[in-house]
């Protein structure tokens, strides 16, 4: 500091040479002076300093968001996780190998046998195209990387980009401080990390970025009224539509927001420009995605946006008429007529559209969002997915930690400084929190809003506290400098007396805030490392000596299928494993995670819950060659097919009433031991899971056939298979594959002993060889 201050000193004093020695003679006095001086002189650069700090914090956050998601790569390997990502990976592979047009027109005969699936028309291509573009770009820049690495790292990369968007969004809504805090919070928030760790190559990884980007650009458009931002937000929306079905949230939230602005009297030309251009262009762009098609004009879920669009036109028209008509009475009358006609026309159009079937009604998924109990009663296939369950409080706490109570505080600040932007963020926060409560997986959508609003709370609080702390600082400083004069006004004295208390309080609160934030950081890291970084395809456990035991059974089985079954073999399994079998096993499956055909899934469910001979008929009709079941009885792996079995029964029974859930239960209780229902003990799933399990001792001190996943001794130990045979069982029995035997020949004969192809092998040898062979074959006959 001294060094920096001195040259300035010198330059100021250059006019009078005498004073320099004077200054030199008094180093003590000068040191008093320097803080004052240097602060002033350095202030020249505060703007740049702030920029530097901001940019470097953003860079660090960017890197942090990326590396905190790499736990799974370091613990396991660079691999694709879970179920859906395997489908995405497979399609990306196809896209990079065959090109976009082939991909767009891809009819996949490897899934949903015998129906097949039109991949190009039934997926959101955003993720695959993004990964392929990154891949092609890197290839173009001469980085010879594998597409798998691109896919694995796509989600962390987009998480990093999301932090940037969060920063700009926070800056737009509040100030750059809030933006920075929001970026830091969202970088490590577990709610988001759960879907964006390396390897979790799923639509959500890209979609959250697109969602936040669309919102940010729209808010920016509303704030500025600029066409450019509105168009940008339309393109952001297009990207979102191409990436994830969650775009419906955007197309409903934005109209709702516009409606709220209209009601609260915040209608402006800026809003008009922003919404109209975003809606019209966004709709046209979205129609380019084949999976979405004309839904924007034909589906009930998208009608709110269109209604608000027309409402805005009416509003604008009225505004214009009001401008022309000076007479308020006349205008009132006009207003009444116009509004009535508009509403009437709208209602009639909607009614006619719905009645004629042009506008499709809301889908089950949409209903189940509005009414959490809907799926349970009507669509078991949605209810059977664990991530579609209502959220428990603990998972809110787990995913948000301190954000959970910073969120209301942030709402308070937002309401205190109400603007178009804060209204938006408040609405986004409240609606998404509701949806997060309905479905576990939608915590993801709520996370950005919660982070932004909490960031506002943190930023505003810390700013206020530091202002208090710093104001006192300044006073003491000036007081110190003027201390020699030892004069204090009485009014000032009173002011000073109140301030130490305030200042200490502020400092204490600041420390508390930092403590909380650091707790948040440790919690997030812990959650990421413990809960969200497991690939779920490779299971790890601690051995008796604390060493890590890896269960790689899934890949063992899939690779076995890939290498040791005929290339056109059809594999029947519960739909959970469909994507993995096609991607890793490279074999045709009957049903997979796409779940587009409920009847087909129900057929598989029915086969699994029937007796073996009935199931054999079903399997023959579906050309099934292999049946794959997941069984955790040996390892104690609880998410196996026996535990999912009731859902198979329910889904199967939903379509085929021959399957009745009570047949598998005893007094409403689901059990597999001796007391289990007879149908349960003899259905295909039970047989395939427990075939020859009764001979195996799994745990010391327990009888053979002790199921470790359910903690009981199984009820049927003597299982004979008639139409199937065990083809492969993995080393920990987690995956068991059975071969469906071909039907018996009607007149089966004993196979005749043949000499095999050796006769042709020795053409030269002539009769001598023939002699030798006879010699040998008699021996073989004896042996």
């Amino acid at each position: 500091m001294v060094g920096k201050a001195e040259p300035v000193n010198g330059s100021v004093k250059s006019g009078s040479n005498q004073s320099i020695p004077a200054a030199m003679q008094s180093p003590l006095k000068k040191s008093d002076l320097i803080p004052n001086l240097s602060l002033k002189t350095l202030k020249l650069k505060t703007k740049q300093q702030e920029l530097l700090i901001r940019v470097s914090i953003l860079c660090l956050v960017y890197v942090l968001a990326f590396i905190t998601r790499l736990f799974s790569v370091l613990r396991y390997e660079s691999m694709i996780h879970e179920f859906d990502p395997y489908f995405n990976y497979r399609t990306t592979l196809f896209l990079t190998e065959k090109g976009f047009y082939e991909f767009w027109n891809w009819f996949d005969s490897e899934s949903w046998y015998p129906l097949g699936r039109i991949i190009g028309g039934t997926l959101y291509p955003g993720l695959m195209v993004t990964a392929a573009i990154i891949y092609w770009l890197l290839r173009f820049l001469r980085f010879a990387i594998h597409i798998r690495e691109v896919c694995v790292l796509t989600a962390p990369f987009f998480a990093s980009n999301t932090t940037l968007v969060a920063y700009f969004f926070g800056k737009e809504v509040w100030d750059s401080g809030a933006g920075l805090v929001a970026a830091a919070l969202i970088a490590i928030c577990p709610g988001y990390i759960s879907r964006s760790v390396a390897g979790s190559y799923d639509n959500e990884g890209v979609a959250i970025f697109a969602l936040l980007l669309t919102f940010y650009l729209f808010v920016k458009a509303v704030n500025t009224g600029s066409l450019a931002w509105a168009l940008a937000s339309a393109f952001g929306y297009f990207y979102m539509v191409s990436a994830w079905g969650g775009y419906v949230f955007i197309i409903n939230l934005i109209p709702l927001y516009v409606l709220v602005l209209l009601i609260t009297g915040r209608y402006s030309m800026r809003l008009y420009v922003a919404y109209n251009s975003m809606y019209v262009l966004g709709m046209l762009l979205a129609m380019q995605i084949r999976f979405v098609g004309f839904q924007h004009v034909q589906s009930g879920e998208h009608m709110a946006a269109m209604g608000v669009f027309f409402l805005l036109q009416v509003f604008f028209f009225l505004d214009w008429v009001k401008h022309l008509l000076s007479d308020t009475k006349l205008f009132q009358a006009f207003l009444r007529i116009t509004v009535t006609t508009a509403i009437a026309v709208g209602a009639i159009a909607l009614g006619v559209g719905t009645a004629s079937g042009y506008i499709s009604p809301w889908t089950g998924r949409f209903y189940s969002l509005l009414d959490p109990t809907y799926a349970k009663d009507h669509i078991p296939i949605i209810a059977s997915v664990s991530e579609h369950q209502p959220t428990a409080w603990s998972s809110f706490m787990f995913d948000f930690h301190i954000l959970l109570f910073l969120f209301p505080a942030g709402l308070y600040f937002c309401f205190k400084r109400l603007s178009d932007a804060t209204i938006f963020i408040v609405m986004y926060g409240l609606t998404s929190i509701y949806f997060a409560g309905v479905m576990v997986r939608l915590i993801l959508v709520a996370t950005p809003a919660v982070c932004l609003i909490s960031a506002i709370a943190v930023s505003a609080t810390i700013k206020n506290l530091t202002l208090v702390a710093r104001a006192k600082n300044k006073v003491t400083q000036t007081g110190f400098v003027r201390g020699s004069s030892s004069l204090k006004g009485s009014s000032k004295a009173s002011l000073d007396q109140s301030q130490p208390f305030q200042r200490n309080g502020a400092i204490a609160l600041l420390l508390g805030a930092f403590y909380l934030l650091s707790k948040y950081a440790t919690h997030c890291t812990w959650v990421t490392s413990e809960a969200y970084s497991s690939p779920s395809i490779v299971l790890a456990a601690r051995g008796a000596h604390g060493n890590r035991v890896i269960f790689d059974d899934y890949r063992e089985a899939y690779f076995w299928l890939r290498k040791n079954t005929p290339p056109d073999a059809k594999v029947m399994s519960w739909w959970d494993y469909g994507y993995q079998i096609t991607a890793m096993g490279n074999r045709t499956v009957i049903v997979d995670n796409n779940t587009w055909n409920n009847t087909h899934i129900a057929t598989v469910g029915r086969a699994m819950s029937s007796y073996e001979n009935e199931a054999y008929e079903i399997m023959r009709s579906l050309d099934v060659d292999y049946v794959l079941v997941v069984f955790g009885g040996v390892t104690g792996y609880s998410s196996d097919d026996i535990n999912k079995f009731l859902w198979m029964v329910r889904i199967g029974g939903g379509v085929f009433p021959v399957i009745k859930e009570p047949d598998y239960l005893v007094n409403g209780e689901y059990r597999v031991d001796k007391g289990a229902a007879p149908k349960m003990l003899n259905c295909l799933m039970y047989k395939l899971s427990y075939y020859r399990f009764g001979e195996l001792t799994t745990e010391y001190g327990k009888p053979p056939g002790y199921d470790r996943a359910r903690g009981v001794e199984i009820g049927n130990k003597d299982i004979k298979l008639e139409y199937l045979e065990e083809a492969f069982t993995t080393s920990n029995w987690i995956v068991r594959i059975y071969k469906v035997k071909p039907p018996n020949n009607r007149w089966e004969r004993c196979s005749i002993f043949t000499l095999g192809p050796h006769c042709a092998a020795l053409p030269f040898s002539g009769n001598v060889s023939w002699l030798g062979r006879i010699n040998f074959s008699t021996n073989a006959g004896i042996g």
């Binding site: 300035v8 100021v12 004093k13 006019g15 009078s16 005498q18 004073s19 004077a22 200054a23 008094s26 006095k29 000068k30 001086l37 002189t41 202030k43 020249l44 505060t46 691999m79 820049l141 001469r142 980085f143 300044k474 000036t478 003027r482 004069s485 004069l487 006004g489 790689d552 890949r555 690779f559 076995w560 890939r562 290498k563 040791n564 890793m584 020859r692 001979e695 065990e726 083809a727 492969f728 069982t729 993995t730 080393s731 029995w733 095999g756 050796h758 020795l762 030269f764 040898s765 002539g766 009769n767 001598v768 060889s769 023939w770 002699l771 030798g772 062979r773 040998f776 021996n779 073989a780």
Partner: protein, 610 residues
């Protein structure tokens, strides 16, 4: 029919005899090793020339169906009577089609460089290795069955020459022998079967024998193996091997029961391939073992200074007919394998697979040389098919030259070193780092240009003009701010001079500093005027202007007060008043100054916010 064949053979033999009657084999010892799937037949031939001409080649005959499995054949001169292998010289061996020979025989000729004169004799060691020579019988077994294989050979050495004395011994693995052909002079000795000696047999004698025995060694066949050897002159040779493996023993039929396999692995699954052992060169590092769908975690590694041993388990135990595919990769230190030779670089590395007892149907070795290598040549110890292609790896522009060597029927005996010679300038090593550096450099340059360039399309649009004006205003305000900072510094200096005065009592110095500060302040106020005018003219500055004006007024007031205080104090010193009195006189002024200073600071902060 057999009789007719025999007759035909006899006729052919008679026809061909005159051509080759010069040579005869006085003694033959054959040893057949059936303990591994690659069957090795070692024959020690004592060749004698009975004719008068100099003979320069010796013919070796194999039946066609054996010849197509023949993977490796060498003939060495066994000069020393003992086991002095070092003195042995290997002779070139070529396929020949001599005229008048039986059609279903394949002949190999061993060229003798010196030739064999009349009455001379020579001892030859012939090693022939056959792949796929053991055939499983029965061909399909269940999990509980043991695997049996059958091997066909002739008890009499098949040769175009007459043989005086010969014997044959067959070495079998230590296990059950199901059956073997019993002809005259057959003895069994533990796991070794001896045929012979047989004496004075005519050319082309043939006496087929079959051995049927239990063999549980793995029949691991790599249908295709691609070894990619990539050289980096930064110090690494990266070897990547893609295996496509199949168990070619007896096919498994019926159920595979994990329970049986786990309970009694050596009975139920005796013939399964449980693991493979690869002997890697010493100091191999960064070893990995994976397949198309990811890492395989069942592998173990031991290393000592002589070798690195890698034990890999396939994902599943491989029963007969089961397949798998995997990749192993490892890095090797460059200096162990790359040498300088007469201005060229020479890579000297082993050809075959490091996995023990593995037979490879098609082996493709690709040597990826660094980009910019020229004058490439290959020398291999046995004939291979050569090709060339280009590979694009990280930061390659024209691609790296790749030498492709292809060979079918590869057995462990092929694990010999081959050499690739090429020229490569060391400077080319730095091309890729430089590319990266320049890439980043241009990126930053582009950023700098972007930050400084004005990229707006319409230079006359109102928003653009407004932005320009706003930038101007901001610059103006910043300048004003600078001037004020200097003013305040000047004020502080004034205060400092007063304090000096109180300490030293040097009135002159104090006056001088006062003068200097006064001049400075006047200069600054002069500087301020044009700035203020420009701010007043700009419409964008309307917001800030009142504040700036207020600031100027306050500052002026502060300045005046300070000046007054200063002169008062100096006056007092000149009048030699006491400290307390001076303090009393300036107290009121001081208070005002403090308040003003506070206000000025606040205003400055406010301007800073903008």
């Amino acid at each position: 029919m057999g009789f007719r064949f025999d007759l035909l053979l006899f006729v052919i033999t008679l026809l061909s005899v005159p051509v080759l009657s010069d040579l005869f084999l006085s003694k033959i010892d054959r040893r057949i090793d059936l303990t591994t799937q690659a069957v090795g037949i070692t024959a020690t031939l004592k060749v004698e020339n009975a004719g008068s001409d100099l003979v320069s080649e010796v013919l070796l005959a194999f039946p066609d169906d054996q010849a197509k499995h023949l993977a490796y054949l060498t003939a060495t001169n066994n000069e020393g009577k003992g086991k002095a292998k070092s003195s042995s010289v290997s002779f070139p061996v070529d396929v020949v089609r001599p005229k008048g020979m039986p059609p279903s025989l394949t002949f190999y000729s061993v060229s003798l460089p010196k030739g064999l004169g009349k009455g001379d004799s020579l001892t030859l060691d012939v090693l022939a290795v056959f792949a796929h020579a053991l055939q499983p019988f029965p061909e399909r077994i269940s999990q509980a069955d043991i695997q049996l294989v059958v091997f066909y050979e002739t008890a009499h050495y098949l040769s175009p020459y007459a043989v005086k004395v010969q014997s044959l011994s067959v070495k079998l693995p230590d296990a059950r022998i199901e059956s073997f052909s019993k002809i005259e002079n057959t003895k069994i000795h533990g796991s070794e079967i001896k045929y012979g000696p047989y004496e004075n047999l005519p050319p082309f004698s043939y006496s087929p024998i079959a051995v049927h025995f239990e063999a549980n060694q793995p029949f691991a066949i790599a249908q295709q193996l691609i070894r990619e050897i990539e050289i980096s002159h930064w110090g690494n040779v990266q070897v990547t091997e893609h295996y496509n493996l199949v168990h070619e023993g007896a096919q498994s039929k019926g159920e595979f029961s994990r329970l049986d396999y786990q309970a009694r692995p050596h009975v139920r699954g005796a013939s399964a391939i449980r693991h493979l052992v690869a002997k890697l060169p010493p100091r191999a590092h960064s070893i990995y073992y994976r397949d198309e769908i990811g890492n395989i975690s069942t592998s173990k590694l031991w290393g000592d200074p002589k070798k690195t041993e890698l034990v890999i388990e396939p994902r599943y135990p491989m029963f007969g007919g089961w397949r798998t595919a995997f990749t192993i990769g490892y890095g090797l230190p460059l200096q162990d394998f790359l040498f300088h030779l007469e201005g060229k670089r020479c890579l000297n590395i082993s050809f075959g697979s490091p996995i023990n007892e593995l037979v490879v149907d098609t082996l493709i070795v690709k040597v990826v040389l660094p980009e910019g290598s020229t004058d490439i040549s290959v020398s291999a110890p046995f004939p291979v098919k050569q090709g060339q292609e280009t590979k694009f790896s990280h930061l390659d522009v024209v691609g790296r030259p790749v030498i492709v060597l292809e060979k079918t029927n590869v057995v462990p005996e092929h694990n010999q070193h081959f050499q690739v010679y090429y020229k490569f300038s060391s400077l080319s090593m730095f091309r890729e780092p430089l590319m990266l550096i320049s890439g980043f450099f241009f990126l930053f340059v582009a950023c700098i240009i972007y930050m400084h360039a004005d990229l707006s399309i319409s230079k006359s649009s109102p928003s653009y003009l407004a932005k320009l004006q706003w930038d101007e205003v901001q610059a103006g305000v910043q300048q004003v701010r600078n001037i004020f900072d200097r003013c305040l510094t000047a004020h502080d200096k004034l205060e400092a001079s007063l304090r000096d005065l109180s300490r030293t009592g040097d009135v002159q110095a104090c006056k001088a500093s006062w003068k200097a500060v006064d001049n400075l302040l006047k200069d600054l106020s002069k500087d301020l005027k044009p700035l203020l005018v420009s701010l007043q003219s700009s419409p964008q500055a309307a917001q800030i202007l009142p504040k700036v004006e207020e600031l100027i007024a306050k500052e002026r007031e502060l300045q005046e007060k300070l000046m007054v205080k200063h002169s008062t104090v100096v006056d007092s010193y000149e009048k030699k008043l006491s400290g307390r009195e001076i303090e009393n006189r300036v107290a009121l002024q001081q208070q005002k100054i403090t308040a003003l200073r506070q206000e000025v600071d606040d205003l400055l902060d406010f301007i800073d916010e903008i």
